[in-house]
């Protein structure tokens, strides 16, 4: 009897849905019926009102946190700052894997929609974007985290996240002093395989050591840029097996922070302010203000006259901003969790970096002491040494090259260990 009833219900459903399908057609109550026609203005020749921005995302544009969200938020914020309407002037292809043909197809779609500038946010889009830049010379292409560019309409962009990491490291180091636990955990997508993760871990460790010379950073690698299950599991392992009292991360979700909160320890997030996710654990996060770049890039593409002038307008094919440009930063400190004096210490170091007086990977180390709500920063000539004891930069020497930080850094500094 049950079976029969189920079948009748199925039939009823089919029929009622069919009826709905018929009834929907004249519906005009719906909201935005975006215009279909492709605008045909080339980059630079159009004003803000008919300039179109295209974007290719690795994850969903409807994400509410993580890497894609950070970029999407940056692009929409920049467009709003420039008086543009993202609802009609931003065209997106999302959930595009790092597959050349799929990226090229997405680009064709965006160009067909009339995009004047196209941003691609994932590293693996690199070759497709290079090809497309040659195929569509009147469209600007801009690629995050890559290293390829040309002299006309194709550039890459990335930021000095290691500077923000250093500041977050200070917060973690001070917390470790306060709790008397020198062990700090770090859930990372990758380790020394990628300069991006490697430089972040090193910057963070040096920051922690600037306030707590005994701080040790244990790195647990995910082997993937996003893996929520292991992000949580590895954080727990670092807390349980390595007795870590602060958990930092280089991965997409806030899972490590939530795991830290569940275990009653502390943590530093990444990409976006994760205080809301773990209010009792989160100290501060190294964050990206992608809108800073997106605004610069969209303005350049709008004013450069012709797409071929885009790179020369920006001044370089590789845009590499840091604390100075406001491109990277730390999120507002969580008053409930941060150790006393954290803000003062961070502010003092920030000033040194912004003024260009000092940088993270140099032969000069900072020793910061916090007392009575004031931070004292002392500089000392000390060699930058990796965790095998090999010298990277001699005492008093200049910072390592940017190309090392973005491309070839493949060692952990002293005090960092793989867990």
């Amino acid at each position: 009897m049950k079976k029969i009833l189920a079948m009748v219900m199925a039939m009823a459903m089919v029929l009622s849905l069919a009826a709905c399908g018929g009834g929907d057609k004249p519906s005009t109550s719906a909201g935005s019926a975006a215009s279909g026609a492709a605008s045909s203005g080339a980059a630079g020749t159009s004003d803000a009102a008919d300039f179109k921005v295209g974007a290719i995302y690795i994850n969903s544009k409807n994400d509410t946190a993580g890497y894609t969200y950070a970029h999407h938020h940056g692009i929409t914020t920049a467009m709003e700052e420039l008086g543009m309407d993202p609802a009609t002037q931003l065209v997106i292809q999302d959930e595009i894997p790092e597959d050349e043909q799929q990226v090229l197809t997405a680009i064709d779609t965006l160009v067909g929609e009339g995009a004047n500038i196209i941003f691609g946010i994932s590293f693996g889009y690199i070759d497709a974007m290079e090809k497309a830049a040659a195929e569509y010379p009147d469209v600007v292409f801009s690629h995050a985290t890559g290293y390829k560019c040309n002299d006309t309409n194709f550039n890459n962009y990335f930021g000095r996240a290691y500077q923000a990491r250093y500041l977050a490291g200070i917060a973690a180091g001070l917390k470790s002093l306060e709790t008397g636990n020198n062990n700090i955990g770090y859930v990372a997508a990758y380790g020394t395989e990628y300069a991006e993760t490697c430089s972040g871990i090193n910057g963070f460790a040096l920051g922690a050591q600037s306030v707590n010379p005994d701080a040790k950073v244990y790195v647990k690698k995910l082997g993937a840029w996003a893996d929520e299950v292991n992000e949580s599991a590895f954080a727990k392992e670092l807390i349980d097996s390595y007795k870590c009292g602060v958990i930092s991360q280089h991965c997409d979700s806030a899972q490590p922070q939530i795991a830290a909160q569940d275990a009653g320890v502390f943590g530093c997030g990444y990409n976006s302010d994760m205080t809301a996710d773990a209010p009792n654990a989160h100290l501060t996060a190294a964050i990206w203000n992608w809108n800073v770049y997106y605004r610069t890039a969209i303005e350049a593409a709008m004013t450069c006259g012709d797409a071929s002038n885009y790179v020369s307008t920006l001044g370089s094919g590789a845009w590499y901003g840091g604390l100075k440009e406001g491109f990277v930063d730390v999120s507002p400190l969580n008053e409930a969790t941060c150790a006393a004096g954290t803000q003062e210490a961070i502010d003092a170091v920030k000033e040194l970096i912004i003024s260009g007086e000092w940088d993270v990977f140099s032969g000069v180390k900072l020793h910061i002491t916090v007392a009575d709500g004031a931070a004292t920063v002392e500089k000392a000539d000390e060699a930058l040494v990796d965790n095998t004891g090999a010298e990277i930069v001699a005492a008093g020497g200049p910072s390592v090259e940017d190309s090392v930080i973005t491309g070839t850094m493949n060692y952990f500094v002293a005090g960092v260990e793989e867990a």
Binding site: D24, A33, P97, D99
Partner: protein, 372 residues
């Protein structure tokens, strides 16, 4: 009142068609409800989707070329799967067979491409892809006929082995790994599009027809003939209907299973060679899920070769069109296509039920009010 399900003797074609059209319309209606809930006008969304954004597009020819790139692997894979399905051999391993075919084709392109003429390389790419994929499929068929293993589980799990082999090739930075770009610090696949790719036949304006489209159509016709007019095709049908009958008729069932599964997997390998030979590069997303979607297409088409082409064209339009439409409708993302595809499958299968059965009220005393 009680109801009873009664078998229909034969459902007239017009009724069948009506039911299927109704089912698709119902799925679109369901999608429309979701769109309305998202604040999107379903009419303009569906218009964008079914035209794939080609109206008013200055590079519409590109759109059509890209559409065919989605269509070819899907159609060919679905045709291939239908061969095995007709025999009730549940080949869920299209993904894995496709991946191995892709790896074989790429290997030939990298190693032989630089020394052999293009046409020879392409032919060898196709043959090697067919052979490797075919053996991967036949391996499961051997286990089935020898040890009676469950082919659904075996093919399913072999998908992941193939996928992880490909992922390994994509991530293992080493001197031997010629699949990767040596100039990149981060591991990314190297392109061989400078060495060899399938040519395009210039047709109208800038539009070029990839030769793979023609090959796929020809193969479709051949498979149709094979299934309908050859002894092999008849044997497949008999084995599919009843293994016992096939045995009784003196058919070598094991040989038929092995042969057909090999052929099925071969064609999937060929689809992979077409895909890789057109893209000129490997990728961990190379299958574009055709091994899964192909199952849906084969079922929706009830293993009918001609209808498979029709359904593949429709599903490709739906998948590609919805990503194009999603570009301008910020509330809708590409997962809408998956939802719509699932609804269409579910409702068409439901409609299919009513072409073969009917529901009639049971009269008092339990006598069925029907003649079925």
């Amino acid at each position: 009142m009680r109801f009873h399900v009664v078998k229909r003797d034969n459902c007239p074609l017009w009724k069948k068609l009506c039911l299927y059209v109704l089912a698709v319309a119902a799925a679109l209606g369901l999608g429309a409800l979701v769109l309305l809930a998202l604040g999107v006008d379903p009419v303009s969304y569906y218009y964008r989707m079914f035209t794939m954004g080609m109206v008013g597009n200055k590079i519409a020819y590109k759109t059509f070329e890209n559409y065919l790139k989605v269509f070819v692997p899907l159609a060919l894979t679905s045709v291939a799967l239908s061969l095995a399905f007709k025999m009730r051999f549940w080949n869920i391993g299209g993904e894995g067979q496709f991946i191995l075919g892709a790896i074989a084709a790429a290997t030939v392109a990298f190693k032989l491409g630089p020394v052999l003429p293009g046409a020879v390389t392409l032919l060898l790419m196709c043959l090697s892809a067919m052979l490797l994929a075919g053996l991967y499929g036949a391996f499961v068929a051997v286990l089935k006929v020898k040890f009676g293993t469950n082919e659904t589980l075996m093919t399913l799990m072999l998908n992941y082995i193939a996928l992880y082999i490909l992922t390994f090739l994509g991530e293992a930075k080493a001197d031997w790994n010629f699949y990767l770009d040596p100039n990149s610090v981060r591991p990314i696949f190297a392109s061989f599009s400078d060495i060899v790719t399938f040519p395009k036949i210039p047709l109208v304006g800038k539009f070029g027809l990839n030769v793979c489209v023609l090959f796929t159509l020809v193969i479709g016709v051949l498979v149709f003939v094979y299934l309908k007019y050859t002894k092999h095709g008849y044997e497949i049908a008999v084995v599919g209907d009843s293994v016992g009958t096939a045995h009784y008729a003196g058919m070598k069932v094991n040989a038929i299973v092995l042969r057909t599964v090999f052929l099925s997997a071969c064609l999937i390998g060929l689809a992979a060679a077409f895909k890789v030979g057109t893209a000129g590069i490997l990728s961990t997303a190379i299958t574009d899920d055709v091994g899964w979607t192909g199952i849906i297409v084969a079922w929706l088409s009830q293993m009918n070769t001609a209808i498979i082409f029709l359904v593949s064209a429709l599903i490709s339009m739906l998948r590609y069109g919805s990503t194009v439409a999603a570009a301008t409708f910020s509330q809708v993302d590409s997962s809408f296509a998956n939802m719509l595809q699932g609804s269409i499958l579910f409702l068409v299968l439901a409609a299919d039920f009513y072409t073969r059965f009917r529901v009639v009220p049971v009269q008092k005393g339990g006598k069925t009010n029907g003649n079925g």
